[in-house]
Symmetry: C2
Subunit: 351 residues, 2 copies
């Protein structure tokens, strides 16, 4: 989608009657600049989305792995120090990921787990087995934030978000200048977005491996809702809390089938193609993740309905001349070998 | 102690009849140089000690926190990639720390814990609540190494070492040119070393807070023994294992009392002074950490005896004109406020 510049978008938002947004460009890795911003603005809440956000990007090669971890970890430490020094009462709302947990063989709790062991008990951080250098960077952040809350009395909410789908929120729908990214490529895209683009373009839906990989998913409108709810219900000083931010679990195969069915309802046929999985991950596994805390605070989920899939596909169709088919066909980043040596492996079809 | 240059020490070692050591100066944060070293040398094992190793250093200010985490994490990622690309069968022996675990209210296992939860079971990484940005950097390393073993089939041993004491090993005792650091200051020193220096100089032994802080300890000779044993018993390809590397548990108060008793046995009197704790940590807590794996592989501990304390104090006395009393009296790094604003707090005596 055509994306306006940030000043244009801020102006468009003001024109729709929205509250004033002050926009500044700033590198969170510049600790002095970030400290000064916090000192000047004295925020009640900071929503920290300023991180490298792609797992495949982090797996390209050594430099991408190091860059992802160094920038994500540095930005968050800088913010923790800025809050300690200039706004210790401020509520940090930090974007984590459900991918921090991996796929353990027990239920996934929200950040902490009560463990009974040799006759004693403690409530401890949930053990993490993340699946990429990107997901690891979020695990590092979580440990750092938890520590800062313990020793400095900061307050923080870590939003362990599932996989997001959807093209727009109520706010971005107000004006076309407010439209934002809709990613479907192998680096930045998410799986349902990719399937919708493939369906719109009459291409097979490409499922990695057997497709039993199960994750938590949510509508991008619920992302916004969850952030709002978190800000409106801050934790106590010194409290580090984790909310699992998703609304439904699906396997990749189930999502492909949902798109297939949505097309079939309009008399259209779609094929599902299993391709060799470039990632190292379990393709059939137990997965049961709790996601109660945000519901208890008032989250009203937009569950995944055929109408949403239809509208996503329609959006793609409206922009079909802008779809870059190359990015759908590009060789993927291989978890074992990285970027450069993957073309042959990733293109091999296994089913 | 006077410390010779690295080339001098390598020469002295050769003169004692030791096997040849090739010494090279290299920054582990330079991934290309590290990769080339691994490619050229094709090691069977790499012992990775190349990290910023001080908790107080990491707590000085934001820059020290960022520097500690960035350098430690980057060096280890660089090494993991170097091994993947040039020596995938090599055994990585990595120095971790018992401080990764913190002080949970349940027994501390060696790296992993079997959890039964809602009727299902899994063996997962032991939950971590580390107590400084330095200790956090080691937690980040552990997660990264575990991941590399899972996806690339590397093999690694993470040595979660306790607090080390002692001045020399069998090897460094062979020639005075082989002597190495004996740290007793507030940044690089460890607690028993500091008590021995204080005792030798007729100063009170300074205990942080109530002194109930309990940790695992080991003789520096056992550090060497544990590394040797680990190298001689490599894990399987793809295996990430954790050994808790310490031999005995003591509280800080107990250590002060041991030094007090060692002096009393020679008719000398020592006072124990409780000073305000600059760290944020529990001063009375449950602590029971397993350390069976290295014993099973043949570790024969040098337990802490009065004779060892005597010999450490004698070593200090031999070098007493070199002792820098200033570093013992320097205001410590305050966990809440960092370096610069601590002088008044840290000097206040609480008991």
């Amino acid at each position: 989608m055509p994306i306006a510049t940030m000043p244009q978008r801020v102006r468009a938002w003001r024109d729709t009657g929205g509250p004033e947004i002050q926009w500044r460009r700033l590198d969170v890795c510049d600790g002095d600049a970030l400290g000064q911003l916090i000192r000047e603005t004295q925020p009640r809440a900071v929503v920290h989305f300023g991180e490298q956000r792609s797992a495949p990007f982090s797996m390209v090669d050594r430099q991408h792995a190091v860059m992802t971890q160094v920038q994500n970890v540095t930005g968050t430490i800088n913010l923790l120090y800025a809050l300690r020094d200039h706004a210790p009462d401020c509520h940090l709302v930090k974007l984590g990921t459900m991918g921090e947990y991996g796929t353990p063989n027990i239920d996934i709790e929200e950040g902490f787990i009560e463990i009974e062991h040799n006759g004693r008990r403690d409530r401890l951080p949930y053990p993490k087995t993340p699946g990429s250098f990107y997901h690891l960077s979020k695990v590092h952040d979580s440990h750092n934030i938890h520590f800062a809350c313990r020793i400095w009395g900061l307050r923080a909410t870590d939003l362990n978000q599932g996989v997001v789908y959807g093209c727009e929120t109520e706010e971005t729908a107000l004006h076309r200048t407010l439209a934002t990214r809709f990613d479907y490529d192998v680096i930045w895209g998410t799986v349902l977005n990719r399937f919708c683009v493939q369906a719109a373009m009459g291409q097979p839906l490409t499922v990695y491996g057997r497709g039993g990989q199960t994750r938590g998913f949510l509508d991008v409108r619920d992302t916004v809702q969850c952030v709002r709810i978190s800000v409106e219900h801050p934790p106590e000083r010194g409290e580090y809390r984790v909310f699992n931010q998703f609304t439904e679990q699906f396997s990749v195969r189930q999502l492909a089938e949902l798109v297939h069915e949505a097309r079939a309802a309009h008399g259209l046929s779609t094929t599902i193609q299993h391709v060799q999985n470039p990632r190292v991950e379990s393709e059939e596994h137990y997965y049961n993740a709790k996601h109660q805390a945000l519901l208890d605070l008032g989250l009203e989920p937009h569950l995944l309905r055929r109408t949403l899939i239809d509208s996503m596909i329609q959006t793609v169709e409206r922009h079909r001349r802008r779809v870059d088919l190359d990015v759908l066909q590009k060789p993927n980043v291989d978890w074992r070998l990285g970027h450069t040596r993957t073309s042959r492996r990733a293109e091999a079809t296994v089913a």
